[in-house]
Subunit: 286 residues, 2 copies
């Protein structure tokens, strides 16, 4: 970020200590003000109206797939992607300082996190499992209630934020749990906010819709293949109420203003019913 | 189903009254024995060992994307897809008989369902929101505790199963909420279990992996496009720890034993590092 803009305000969904807040810091460094929002709608609204400078939005998870809802919100708002990062999701058992595993009788977390720690929970049947709204919020709750026999499952940042302690590290079943986050801002702010994440290589994300014609997808992909443009993601999504019509999410290597990418996008525009460029940004390192 | 096999046992994840149980009945009719399992792992295990005849597994949701976890479990087990159905996810406010909306002080449900009913909950701030393990399980809980001032958010089947009542219908924000379920069985049982869902048209689902070569995806898709085979789904998924390598999920129109599909799959096998046919089945009507 430029020094002249002061501390950037970055919206995220969840409570302080959430994985999304980690992602915001990976994307912009630690000198930012992170602002929690309860829902994705409120987060998109905040960055669209200028209440915040940027937002860190999860867009896909290695186990749970693409977050279509956030693609939809991207399509509804005039925002641009200026960065991406992959965050490894590591779950810890967290309790108040001094509490030992043998003392824990109940554990709170979001049901998705609880399901991802199935093996640990099965090996510790003395611990009752209690679903909660979110991972970081569960840590906040056990600290606020000063509980000595309860724990939470959350990321390391949540323990730090609320002054709790990690009592068992990395209790997730599957270490291959990554969430990809996008950094979003209004187009007029795109040049004044710089992500610190990613490599020198540039990536571009687009969404396009093709008509119901045989081979339409094949010809669309040809626009890139014939120009040796590499794709890093392709995903079809049915269009509700229009059988046989699809939206496609495509990520490609290159900036939207490179001549060969410009030509490919112009070619695609001839074939597709609609094309929207969501943004160009530094490719994540992992 | 054949009359000779008796009542089929069908595994699903969740509690009785879950959306997955609805899907099982859409797939096989109401003359089945539905057997709940706590986790997807346990459900896949049950059908793989023959403890159940089939399983109904969610594979993608119109808002939340593909359930990669169930694709992974499909790859780990020797099962075949014999049917598909799209289930509209409709959330209702459900309480014990005689309880009015004005009396409800707390509502339980899975956090994903609660988030999908944001607008209703915001319009009713007198109702405290409480996360729970699952939707149908929340209905079970308020009925077992005989609560007069609590409600649950779940599907209509859950109200019927536990003798509760729908007090406000269709409270979800987005009506375009569909989950696609697959009917799975062991290959040797595939001919003895017949889905009642779907049209006369056949569909085939495959997973393939291509080497890290420019244009590899384009050539793979050409195997289908050049034979006028329509694709209804394509999705790339990064392969963990192997940058630039991807698995692709593809659904296509046609049966794996039709000559032109057979030839396309043989052609794909020349180009891809691996190809697995997950099954051929009647295409869903919607």
């Amino acid at each position: 970020m430029e020094d002249t803009m002061g501390t950037a305000k970055v919206a995220f969904q969840g409570e302080h200590g959430a994985f999304s807040e980690d992602a915001a810091r990976q994307l912009l460094g630690s000198n930012i003000e992170t602002i929690p929002f309860r829902t994705f709608e409120e987060m998109f609204e905040a960055v669209s109206t200028g209440a915040t400078d940027a937002a860190a939005a999860p867009i896909e998870n290695s186990l749970a797939g693409s977050v279509h809802k956030n693609y939809d919100l991207l399509m509804e708002h005039d925002l641009t992607i200026i960065g991406e990062t992959n965050l490894r999701i590591v779950h810890h058992l967290i309790a108040q300082p001094g509490v030992a595993l043998s003392e824990v009788r109940r554990v709170y977390s979001h049901p998705v996190a609880l399901a991802q720690c199935e093996r640990f929970l099965r090996a510790n049947p003395q611990i009752e499992v209690a679903p909660a709204y979110d991972t970081a919020g569960s840590v906040k709750m056990i600290v606020e209630s000063d509980s000595k026999d309860e724990a939470a499952i959350a990321g390391a940042a949540a323990a730090a934020v609320y002054g709790a302690e990690i009592i068992v590290e990395s209790i997730e079943d599957n270490a291959k749990n990554y969430t990809r986050f996008l950094l979003l801002t209004r187009p007029e702010r795109a040049d004044s906010i710089k992500t610190v994440a990613g490599s020198k290589e540039r990536k571009t994300s687009i969404v396009f819709r093709v008509a119901n014609q045989p081979g339409a997808l094949f010809r669309s992909i040809a626009a890139f293949a014939l120009r040796d443009i590499d794709l890093t993601k392709i995903e079809s999504r049915p269009i509700e109420g229009r059988p046989w019509e699809y939206s496609f999410y495509v990520d490609l290597i290159g900036d939207q203003h490179e001549p060969r990418v410009e030509r490919a996008l112009a070619n695609l525009a001839e074939l597709a019913e609609s094309v929207r460029v969501l943004g160009s940004y530094p490719r994540s390192n992992e």
